[in-house]
Amino acid sequence: MAHYLLIESRDPFESRDVGYYYDLAKGLVQGGNQVTLFLAQNGVLSARPSAQSDALTALARSGVTVLADDFSLQERGIAKLADGVAAAHIDVVVDHLAAGHKTLWH
């Protein structure tokens, strides 16, 4: 079993391509891997409960750990998060890198 960290810096309001990345996370977890999706920058805009956040909740239910960068959240005044999304510090990214988990940025 491999571990992956997928960093999503884009949001689904501006980029249709975010769906591809969420699907990639789901495909990796369905392949038996441990996957963390770390939302950063405008990527956290979909973490606020909305029609767009349903996709993140579904990802969390499928087994992906969904985190949102606390700095990006605070910068955007996002206090309430969708079900399945937890705030996390940027250290998490370095933890994954140091542990040798394959890390991608979108």
């Binding site: 920058q41 890198l97 940025w105």
Partner: protein, 136 residues
């Protein structure tokens, strides 16, 4: 136990993308942990360590140079190098040479250096992990 070595590839030029804010936050954490860090500054990122950046005032907000204290990435790069060293790590910051040439940013923060794709390959081979932060 061998020291953790990370490689990060950057592409964004200063002042155009939030990617660099996040990148420097990641690099800062790694430096505070005393990791060895390789940075391959490609394309626009070759200007991050350009030593001739100067801060400016903010007339819209009525601030002079000192009051505005405008960030320059060259200072962030220098601070990163110092932080890593303070914690027993080191930063090998390579500015891709052709990228430097075409942008005319050929004066670097001391401690950073000119390099090439061969350096990025060497970094990848020598690192525990690699993160590419692409530009859009």
């Amino acid at each position: 136990m061998s020291k953790t070595t990370l490689t990060i590839a950057l592409m964004d030029p200063p002042y155009e993308s939030e990617n660099l804010t996040t990148a420097f936050r990641i690099l800062d954490v790694a430096a505070r942990r005393g990791y060895d860090i390789n940075v391959f500054a490609y394309e626009g990122a070759a200007g991050l360590a350009f030593v001739r950046q100067t801060p400016h005032p903010n007339p819209v907000h009525g601030k002079n140079v000192a009051e505005e204290n405008h960030p320059t990435t060259k200072d962030q790069v220098a601070a990163l190098l110092a932080e890593a060293e303070k914690n027993g790590g080191k930063v090998d910051w390579v500015n891709c040479g052709m990228c430097v040439d075409e942008r005319g940013v050929n004066e670097f923060v001391p401690g950073t250096r000119r390099g090439s794709p061969a350096d990025f390959h060497t970094f990848i081979e020598a690192s525990d992990n690699v993160l590419v932060i692409p530009t859009k």
